[in-house]
Symmetry: C2
Amino acid sequence: MSHNAGKLFVISGPSGTGKGTICAELLKDIGNEFSVSMTTRSPREGEVHGREYFFVSREEFLDNVEKGNFLEHATVFDNFYGTPKDMVLKRLEKGRNVILDIDVQGGLQVKQAMPEAVLIFILPPSLTELRKRLEGRKTEEPEIIEKRLSKALNEIRFIGEYDYYIVNDDVDTAVANARGIIMAETSRVPDKVRPIIRKYEQEKGE
Amino acid sequence: MSHNAGKLFVISGPSGTGKGTICAELLKDIGNEFSVSMTTRSPREGEVHGREYFFVSREEFLDNVEKGNFLEHATVFDNFYGTPKDMVLKRLEKGRNVILDIDVQGGLQVKQAMPEAVLIFILPPSLTELRKRLEGRKTEEPEIIEKRLSKALNEIRFIGEYDYYIVNDDVDTAVANARGIIMAETSRVPDKVRPIIRKYEQEKGE
């Protein structure tokens, strides 16, 4: 039921809210695609250039930053990561929706570069529940968990910049909710309605 | 997943597009309610005042029009019909969504009275298909069908005033699409985000 051109959806939310799982589910749907990011980190075993990432030198990356080729970019552990604009636009033009799983800072960058992007914020049911999920991973030290909770709260403070929010207390419901948002956004009456009306007028011979 | 107060949804579309069926399905969902209209026509057998309609005199109806008590009102075959504003507002305050099945003229009146109303337009796949459906009813004379098709086209010309549109070529898909729109609209980040943020801050003791 997608009538319009594709739309760009940004899914953000604190670490542990399950946005990765939600994105993975959405990407199973026909018409939804992700976008391959560019990075300066080295490829891990099995990773293919152009599939997991575009692996480039720092020089090449910074050249792209300067040229304004990224919708958003960030530094993580001394490595650069960015979302190339042209890759996203190409997919949108083909009528595909693009789903970006990025953090709040990145989401705000995308909104600035493309105000028509649709920003969805995934919230944990509570910080207590988020703590439980992070502790459940059993890979993180208590002080790291505290840091993550503080970071989560700082991210939640940006919710006003987002278009939609989903409280992920049940992943199936959260995915259904995200699908509903995508469905709604692709059912919006466009600014230019003439082509729609024209179709019916022509049938009527008017 | 309805986080906010209830929302008002107007479902419009030419006769024969199946908007009645779609509304009936939506009203089965928890949280969605219809609103009882006011009318000057006489009750039919089995109809109960306050259930099917509020049956009132022309005098009482016109008094309500004058007082601006209707979200929309119209005349059909010498009888008046109207949607009382207070009935809708009461439901919205309780967090219920209100679904109104009204024609395009009514939809535009509602939007003027309540700009926050969400207007959904149901389109037929084509006028040829709409003609087939109207002919299938076997109750209508050919010239009535022609009139309905012309009226349909005139209504479609107002699509630009609507927020969303759904092409009803399969009723299950159309209902799913309408549900998606309702889900999305109830997941919108509200203008005032403080209460959301506050909840998490309090947990964190901040």
